[in-house]
Subunit: 355 residues, 3 copies
């Protein structure tokens, strides 16, 4: 996957990732690897020095990004205040994102009224409906569908088999993994004696820039107005975003979490896997929602919550800990009850014996 | 999205939605909007009068569907016993469902032995296998797959990229959102010393009329016989329906809920998001299952359950409330234990001092 | 679905499934059916004798696979030590798996540098990218996508609309249901003051032989190195497998379960529906994880766990049982508190009265 054109010296790489090279600054780095599977002339990272010392002893031909200079080793290193970020930047050097170059596959079915920038790619068997617009450098994968009047900005990538329904607007620099569905109808019905009457879902979906959406995640259109995913939001796989949800910038949501209709999530929120959110709940900025948490009410900004129903994490942990000691507590209460009864009986006996 | 041909007077709209126009019955209504984003000459709805009074004061050019006539305002209104239903019907007037008109895209791959009604549409790159049948007015979206001997009734719509496997029967008036998979194999294996032996899944899926299925939901075929989704069932996104499940009419199931094999759900049941059901459980008619509930045993008709394991909702709430007070209960028991011990010691001392 | 060429005598079928025919060994068996819907000259199975006796009385033209010979009935039977396994094998006789025969649909888009075995099938509108390889007898369904350098072994079947991304290696005898996505990016970002920086996901996915994956399940590629699904693993629908997860042979995972990054699951593990696993947890061989369990720490081999947080199943059940009695426990503690206070007051009074 690496080609020689990406080869770089340790010193050059340090400069790119804003770290400081230590040792042989002319050492050639050809790619990035994991610490478990070191590859010759590749770079990896370590948050503690143990692995570095070990590979140095083994004279492994590998370089490291580390948080602090490690004494007594001769292995090439780049010191970076955040080694994981440094490694991310190194990976980005060796694996840069690609953009479209104007390749339209002849099997793609493209409406005459669609507007496709001359540098955008459209893959085999993709379908682009009337009025759709695709910006410069964007890549529409094989088998993707873009509905009427859907819009995609610049350098956005739809991997294969993504479905974007009508009147969905997507920004620039986004990534959508296979199987994602954007703009399906929200779930809205009125129960009547004649059965369920569907409330037409006639709103839109608005997705900002630099948004990434994982495989098979679903984002419903709004009933009216718009479902809004702000800039730099990252959604993992199999996430459910219901109608009229709003998600603030930079928020990250892990796999299989589900947001019910009209939930409003702030900026910089972190939501762990399988968490669930009731209709209309509001989650403040910079909050953290634990895995499998069930959020049934609003969450104040800057709070960490967990459990079901979700509450402040410390309290939730104390309740869980207490729950685990519950069988013992029950025994203790039984014992107390017995002891008290015995004491009462004892006192009664003594009182009786005095009479 | 609205065109002028849908323009209607307040009086005409009141008649369509079976409400009563109040004020200027000749007021022209051009569409429906939300109360948060009123659009000129559009109609919205309100369940309480506050918003109506406010927009009346602001002289907003908007009409309202309300539950009761609001005094002292001149804004055009329709009084409807259920404003939300009234608004749903108004939305349906402005956004009627469409039917096929016989458009077969040349890129569709259609078996010679498939039977497609002359008024049905088949979109680009759709694949229709041998023996499949599609009824009048139905619309098969781009990239859809219909397996051998699959059947679709009239005026049913498959949005793009829906997969219907062989021997699946679907009724009329249904809607399937993108990414839905119907008729994948049930999950059945016999564990042996030679590994897992797959039990062939040779049953069918039978789906009634007016069923709606959300994006990326999966409905497995039966091991033998049929998985049955009755008329007017509504499934949200990312729902799992396992082999041989049966769901009664009018039941609604929210996103990410999962029904294990052979679960039997009654009629008019409401199941909230992320709920789970064990193999073979039976849920009676008119029950309500709360969000994230874990149903491990049968549920009587007309019951509301919640929690894990799911039990009657009131009990479940009491248990949760009690759980939250558990750390304090533990302190109280500690204190009682100490007080009792002191009392016992005290009595012993007094007795001793008397001797 | 059955054709006469599969007709077989009871004696022959007994020999195929390694059971013992009882009664009319020349009885013709034409297929397999359920006990609820007996079909003439078909075979079903029973784990208890009640149903057999009933159908025998009704003179049903049906045969049975049973665990022990049932006395006093004349219905044709095969005795098998595991009737369910016997029935599975009978089903496999009547519904054998099919293999490719070299059918390449003209609408498929196949790179010149892809290598497709002459006996493999490629369905309509499938897309096979450069360097992809498909082994003998494998079947690539309609609308499937195989990315660059993806590899599929022999007799593996991709049902329609499966997405296999680049550098994914899949073994022989596997089955992938519609909507499956293999090789989407893992969810990895570094939060910085400039927003989330994507960590490129440059690893692979390695899938062994005889693996089955349910509809709309997602398996992410590794950040570095490989996400590994070993031989004979069975995944149900809508399961999430994150980057760098490793799953041991023969393990079965039910619908909507989710494994976070770097989780390591042993061999022969059974995981029930909607269970969740934290990053990096290790689950030992032969463990059982209950439905909706939340696994937050390592699980020893051979353990059955349930609940959230997941703990040994017996303990978990005792805690749940205790939780349900918690409101009563609270009342009891209130009573004890009152009784103790009364006793203390009583003693004080008596002491006072003596003075």
């Amino acid at each position: 996957m690496n080609d020689k054109s990406k080869n770089i010296t340790l010193g050059e790489l340090a400069s790119i990732i804003k770290g400081e090279a230590v040792g042989d600054i002319g050492y050639v780095v050809a790619g990035a690897c994991s610490i478990e599977n070191p590859v010759e002339h590749h770079i990896t990272f370590a948050v503690d020095p143990g692995g570095v010392v070990e590979l140095d002893k083994a004279k492994a031909q590998v370089a490291f990004i580390v948080g602090e200079k490690i004494q007594g080793v001769s292995i090439p290193m780049i010191v970076h205040k955040n080694p994981r970020l440094g490694f991310t930047l190194a990976l980005r050097h060796f694996h840069p994102e690609t953009s479209g170059t104007g390749k339209i596959h002849p099997s793609a079915v493209i409406s005459e009224s669609a507007t496709i920038n001359p540098t955008a790619d459209v893959g085999p068997n993709a379908v682009i409906e009337a009025g759709a617009r695709i910006g410069a450098g964007s890549i529409i994968g094989a088998g993707c569908y873009m509905g009427e009047n859907s819009v995609i900005g610049e350098n956005t990538r739809l991997y294969p088999n993504v479905t974007v329904m009508h009147d969905v607007a997507i920004g620039s620099g986004c990534i959508f993994h296979p199987g994602v569905v954007i703009g399906g109808d929200g779930f809205g019905f009125e129960a009547t004696s004649d059965g369920n009457i569907k409330m037409p879902q006639v709103g839109r979906v608005e997705i900002g820039d630099n948004v990434e959406v994982g495989a098979n995640t679903t984002i419903d259109r709004a009933t009216l107005d718009a479902t809004v995913i702000s800039d730099d939001v990252k959604l993992d796989n199999l996430v459910q975003i219901a109608h009229n949800v709003k998600i603030g910038s930079h928020t990250r949501i892990a796999a299989q979490a589900g947001l019910s209709g009209r939930a409003v999530i702030g900026e910089n929120v972190v939501i762990a896997g399988q968490a669930g959110f009731n209709n209309g709940v509001k989650v403040g900025d910079n909050s953290v929602v634990g895995g499998r948490a069930g959020v049934v009410g609003d969450i104040r900004a800057g709070t960490m919550v967990s459990g079901y129903p979700a509450r402040e994490h410390g309290k939730s942990q104390r309740v869980i800990a207490a729950t685990m000691r519950l069988p013992k507590l029950m025994e203790k209460v039984e014992r107390l009850e017995k002891e008290l009864a015995e004491l009462v009986a004892d006192i009664k006996n003594k009182t009786a014996s005095k009479i």
